[in-house]
């Protein structure tokens, strides 16, 4: 009797435990996106592609979704445009410019990000980054990658030889140039054959001289290029970039492309002591010129007008959604987390604006320093020329590039330069 009464109890117990086991196994895997697919498009190739694929792999392991990467090369705008036209966009794209984010958002090609993602971004990033991902009040993009373009690089032995240390203000910088010149080295090399190096010089100086508010206004062309602040900035730059201080003179600088301007500070003795450009210069000096960070070369933040600057100008890559695929939404949210960054960050060659990223993951001391300057900047502005219509801010041989090159030929002819800049800006902005 007892056994017969126990039977059903046992069988129920077995059944329950079996069910529990089943349930247990399905919850412990916690892969809600298992079997889902998500396609990501970005400009990255070679090593960068490999590093980002490692990030996607971690995402797949975590969520069960299969993430595939499509490299668009430099022509991401064209690729996305044609894929949107054929109704087959990738689920997620990582865009290299805020201008592209703005264009796609206005066209209605982007999907708004959910509030959970917005909350994570608010917690992990300075407010400026959320603003930069927002168009017309709607939040579209997570800045996965960022770069610091307020870094001035110098040859340590040239500085030692001249007995100078990193300048803090523009006045200091003039003094350092004068002493470097006396010591027998050209103070600075400028890659003026590439117009974008000149726009970056201008933007840093303008940010410090005219302030963030004016910078934003000039970026949207709400103040004109003939404004006094622009003239003052060009005047201050003309004081620094004098013919006698620039390697090869000003006409030589206009023949020097960016890679050459960097290698000019790498020799022993170097041809020039200083080169200004973004944090990617470190990679060039380390990998191509085989110099050791800190002992052979170092950087200082672009000097402020009167003292150290806490403003940073830079760039970045923003992740956006182009389809309603839920796995895409999950991926963009994942890219806002520090863990998604650290996989690539530890391999080097990338910086994040994410405050939660531990700077100790960066592989060398200079990368740590540029990254923490970026995350702790009191004001961050995006590269102005990257935000301008490309006809003005990103075209070889025309617009701002050509106008600043013309200015560098004759730096004291400021009124003419400003007039030409304003003319081209007005045409490109259509205002």
């Amino acid at each position: 009797m007892s056994s017969s009464r126990l039977g059903p109890v046992l069988s129920v117990a077995v059944l329950v435990s079996l069910l529990a086991a089943c349930g247990g196994s399905s919850t412990s895997s916690s892969k809600p996106l298992a079997g889902k697919k998500v396609e990501v498009a970005a400009v990255w190739v070679k090593d960068e592609q490999k590093n980002f694929e490692a990030v996607l792999k971690a995402f797949s392991d975590k969520t069960g979704a299969t993430a595939t990467f499509t490299s668009t090369g430099d022509a991401i705008g064209t690729v996305l445009g044609s894929r949107l036209a054929s109704n087959n966009p990738p689920d997620v794209a990582v865009l290299p410019q805020p201008g592209l984010l703005h264009d796609l958002a206005v066209k209605g090609s982007l999907k708004e990000l959910d509030s959970a993602t917005a909350d994570i971004v608010s917690q992990n990033y300075a407010p400026v980054w959320k603003d930069l991902g927002t168009v017309n009040g709607k939040f579209y993009g997570v800045w996965y990658k960022a770069s610091n373009k307020s870094t001035v690089w110098y040859n340590v032995s040239a500085f030692k030889n001249a007995g100078v240390s990193a300048p803090k203000s523009l006045t200091d910088l003039s003094q350092v140039f004068s002493t470097l010149s006396a010591s027998g080295v050209k103070p600075v090399s400028v890659g003026g054959a590439d117009g974008w190096t000149l726009t970056d010089w201008f933007e840093n100086a303008y940010l410090n001289l005219a302030g963030r508010d004016n910078y934003v206004k000039l970026t949207t062309h709400t103040i004109k290029w003939t404004d006094q602040t622009v003239k003052d900035t060009l005047k201050a730059l003309a004081q620094v970039l004098q013919d006698k201080y620039v390697y090869g003179g000003l006409s030589g600088a206009l023949q020097t492309d960016f890679p050459t301007s960097v290698s000019n500070i790498a020799g022993n003795p170097p041809k020039a002591a200083i080169v200004y450009e973004g944090d990617f210069v470190e990679g060039v000096l380390k990998d191509t010129a085989h110099l050791t960070p800190v002992t052979d070369f170092n950087f200082f933040p672009f000097p402020g007008t009167t003292g150290p600057s806490t403003s940073v100008m830079g760039g970045g890559d923003v992740a956006v959604r182009l389809t309603d695929n839920a796995a895409g939404a999950e991926l963009v949210k994942y890219l806002a987390s520090p863990e998604a960054f650290q996989i690539w960050g530890a391999k080097g060659g990338i910086t994040s604006a994410n405050k939660k990223v531990d700077v100790s993951i960066y592989p060398d001391p200079l990368a740590k320093a540029t990254a923490s300057a970026l995350a702790n900047a009191q004001a961050f502005v995006f590269d102005m020329s990257d935000q301008a219509p490309a006809a003005f801010g990103a075209t070889k041989g025309s617009g701002e590039w050509a106008d600043l090159q013309a200015w560098l030929r004759n730096p004291n002819n400021i009124d003419a330069a400003c007039a030409q800049l304003e003319k081209d800006a007005a045409a490109a902005y259509g205002s």
């Binding site: 002493t179 206009l254 023949q255 003795p269 490309a390 006809a391 050509a402």
Partner: protein, 450 residues
């Protein structure tokens, strides 16, 4: 080229005319003919006719392609200073390039008739045609670099220039106290005149320590000597900084082997000496002066810095030269093939009649070659109108406005920056219209001869 060779052979021309006449009755459009023509016709339709029509239509619409703007794009093309400059450059190309290449082609072809191994030489001349224009452009851009260290053109000039004018010991040196010294030609002199018993201090900065000879010692301040003018030239900068400008101090090297001159009031050199390893120099003076102490230019001559081939003034000639290098092989080989078909008898007959070689060339060879020369010339004209690759690769970004040509401007407008396909299409149509008369002339020639 296969179409060109028969065109120059007069006997062939005579024989082909009847065939052309035989073809004159209206062709019968049977199904077989249509069937055979269809693939080519479809191909031409899709890849040539349709794009041409689409481009013409597109040129009347705005950037986004949504709004019809009439001839607005054409108006913009012909009022934009950059495009006008590009057109101006194309005219320069048009005037120089086809003539130069045809001229060199004739010259090489005629000369090659007279050398052994002409096939080898001809092949070498033709090789640049086999290299991609992009690669040629990159090679020439490197050849044209301003620094003689990297640019082959300037390296050649530098080896000659530096042999004629020896670079001085102290290149780029300048006085540490500009108020005490003034430029004298490309050298320097003390602003104040001196007399026997005076001590002269000439400090210099702005040159690397590597320019100082290894045997240099720390500079020492000479003391005044009666009847003599003494002085010191030194590097007024302590490596690592410190010290005071204008002071002869420990750590500051003297400048040996500096040529120092004593110039009298009439401007003639009264005495000349070299500084010693501590930078000291001394003159025994017979007269009371006053003298100028001069460091002549030979001390400071910079080495040859290089011609700025890719600067705004020389860039177009430089690129044209590169293009001539690329195309001259084509002209040589084509004209050479034409020369081979000219009957030797005609040349011999002229020579027998007492014509000089120059007369034979001008009165016999050139007239017989002229149909071919025109074909070569027209080919070059078409190529020069659409020149793009070499300009794009050779010109640095900063001189693109100076080197610009129509096809490059088309690319810049349509495919970079704002990506204005409207204006880009308008430029393309303009370029197309420029090529049409040349093509028409070419086709008429073929028909007339075929």
């Amino acid at each position: 080229m296969s179409t060109i060779v028969p065109a120059v052979a007069p006997p062939v021309v005579e024989e082909e005319r009847p065939i052309l006449k035989g073809r004159a009755p209206a062709p019968r459009w049977n199904r077989v003919a249509i069937g055979f023509l269809a693939p080519a016709a479809i191909f031409v339709g899709i890849f040539i006719v349709y794009p041409v029509i689409a481009t013409i239509i597109r040129s009347f619409f705005n950037r986004t392609g949504e709004t019809f703007v009439g001839v607005d794009n054409y108006f913009k093309v012909f009022t934009d200073s950059r495009t006008l400059h590009a057109i101006q450059n194309n005219i320069i190309w048009l005037l120089v390039f086809p003539v130069a290449v045809t001229g060199f082609g004739v010259m090489f072809a005629v000369l090659l008739e007279r050398v052994p191994y002409r096939l080898v030489v001809r092949t070498i001349l033709f090789t640049p045609m086999a290299v991609s224009l992009l690669a040629s452009g990159v090679i020439w851009r490197i050849m044209y670099q301003q620094s003689p260290e990297t640019g082959a053109m300037n390296a050649v000039i530098a080896s000659v220039a530096n042999a004629i004018t020896h670079p001085g010991h102290y290149q780029g040196a300048r006085p540490s106290q500009p108020d005490l010294m003034q430029p004298a030609g490309d050298g320097y002199q003390m602003s104040q005149t001196v007399a026997p018993g005076d001590v002269v201090h000439m400090g210099f900065i702005g040159f690397p320590v590597s320019e100082i000879p290894a045997n240099a010692q720390d500079a020492k301040d000479p003391s005044s000597q009666s009847g003599r003018i003494v002085g010191v030239v030194w590097r007024d900068f302590i490596p690592g900084g410190g010290g005071q400008v204008g002071q002869v101090e420990p750590g500051k090297k003297g400048l040996p082997d500096m040529t120092v001159q004593l110039v009298d009031s009439k401007g003639s050199v009264a005495a000349q000496t070299q500084s010693d390893t501590a930078g000291d120099f001394s003159f025994a003076s017979t007269s009371t002066g006053p003298y100028h102490v001069v460091l002549p230019a030979q001390n400071f001559h910079p080495p040859f810095g290089g011609v700025q081939w890719l600067g705004s003034s020389l860039v177009t000639p430089a690129i044209i030269l590169a293009a001539i290098w690329v195309w001259v092989g084509f002209a040589t080989v084509t004209i050479g093939a034409g020369l081979a078909t000219i009957s030797r008898d005609l040349l011999e007959a002229a020579r027998v009649d007492g014509a000089t070689e120059l007369q034979v060339f001008r009165r016999v060879t050139v007239p017989l070659l002229s149909p071919l020369l025109i074909v070569v010339f027209i080919t070059l004209v078409i190529n020069v109108l659409k020149i793009f690759d070499l300009v794009y690769t050779i010109a640095p970004g900063s001189v693109i406005p100076d080197a610009n040509v129509i096809a490059l401007q088309l690319y810049l407008v349509a495919f970079t920056g704002l990506g204005d396909f409207g204006i880009g299409s308008a430029i393309a149509v303009f370029l197309f219209l420029l090529v049409i008369p040349v093509m028409a002339a070419n086709i008429r020639r073929f028909q007339g001869e075929g």
